[in-house]
Symmetry: C2
Subunit: 197 residues, 2 copies
DNA sequence: GGTTAAACTGGACCGGCGGTCCAATTGGAC
DNA sequence: GTCCAATTGGACCGCCGGTCCAGTTTAACC
């Protein structure tokens, strides 16, 4: 039984080119102006190639988001406290909120595009798939920390509410103007207020 | 100087038909499946008529939302306490949160469609226009109540965050399953926690 | 009741989107 | 070098939001 048929060299090269082109375009234009065709052109490949590798627009956005959130994910699961394991749940939660705000702040357009995806996918899919997405990971982490600190609260829903701020248009606009610190402060205020209620 | 040229009878009739068709379709299908052409067909008019009266998809959605939110708006400005003027800001705020959750819960798809509009319009427009929209009114009311109770907090941003829960996909899904009470409870928890911090 | 200007109507039409398809090309195991 | 499968890219599809305009309807005025 040989290896599972590696990805061809040119395919890997084009995959990188597509991801980088998408990243660059989303950093410069609002998501509704970044069509799949434009990404393909900017990457120097055909449209069919993009869909062959990523399946759909939502698939590409998901991969982009996974890339951007990778460092945070590792810091949470394996890194040092207060973000990683070891600190008190309350401290981990506050540190995580700041870190998430930071990631979103440095990728304004991307989260918006992902938000549309999340919203649209809420009509049919099984909840299991959500667990593998970036949103699912963020939500699961928040929920676990809240539940650990205050098992009597509705951690599931509170986690959704805290994250939903990051999909709100006016809030994201503020983030784009460098107000990340301000958003972090208000989110921490809400979180601590709920935990101490 | 005579009256300002009333709307013609057939135009008024078609306007009603379009609004009712849109309302009906949005109640039954997710917003991305409700195209302007479908609304026109369901209302028994041509597509051009719809665009003539409402300008754009966003315009239609805005009008629909204004209709749905009309009762709440009046209750807030002229109705009895605790929703209307007279009660303590804190009580008005909690009552308002419940009322907003109720409106959104009975109009699942509509807010989602409006959310896309709000998000998209965040790239160019002056903030003044936002004041006239339903979102603008809700946000302004919340902000004023928070500021009145706790002038030291970031009322502007906190109001946005509280409202953003209503645009979050998973949260709206819960609302669609009759969990309005659960959402109201968590929002009240967050609000009271912040006010007492 | 007839005249008339303006408001309204609706369907053909437009560019662009996400997504599909498949003939031609390319890579790499042997 | 051979050969098969993975990959490629652009033509193509149906649909969308939005525009246009020739024809129709309304209602104000005489």
């Amino acid at each position: 039984m040989t290896e599972v048929r590696r990805e061809r060299a040119d395919a890997a090269r084009n995959r990188r080119a597509i991801l980088e082109a998408g990243e660059r375009l989303l950093a410069e234009y609002p998501p509704e102006q970044v069509s799949m065709e434009r990404i393909a052109a900017a990457a120097g490949v055909g449209k069919g190639t993009v869909f062959h590798r990523f399946g759909s627009r939502a698939g590409l956005m998901r991969e982009l988001m996974v890339e951007r959130a990778h460092a945070l994910r590792e810091a949470v699961t394996d890194g040092p406290p207060p973000l990683g394991p070891g600190a008190a749940p309350r401290d981990r939660l506050l540190a995580f909120l700041d870190a998430v705000v930071d990631v979103v702040g440095r990728n304004k357009g991307l989260l918006a595009a992902l938000g549309e995806t999340v919203t649209a996918s809420c009509d049919a899919p099984d909840d299991a798939r959500e667990q593998h997405s970036v949103y699912g990971f963020w939500h699961g982490h928040l929920r676990a920390l809240i539940a650990e600190e205050r098992p009597d609260l509705d951690a599931e829903l509170l986690a959704h509410i805290l994250l939903s701020a990051l999909q709100n248009g006016p809030v994201v606009r503020l983030l784009g103007q460098g107000e990340a610190q301000r958003l972090g402060a208000s989110l921490r205020l809400l979180a601590t207020g709920a935990l101490e209620a």
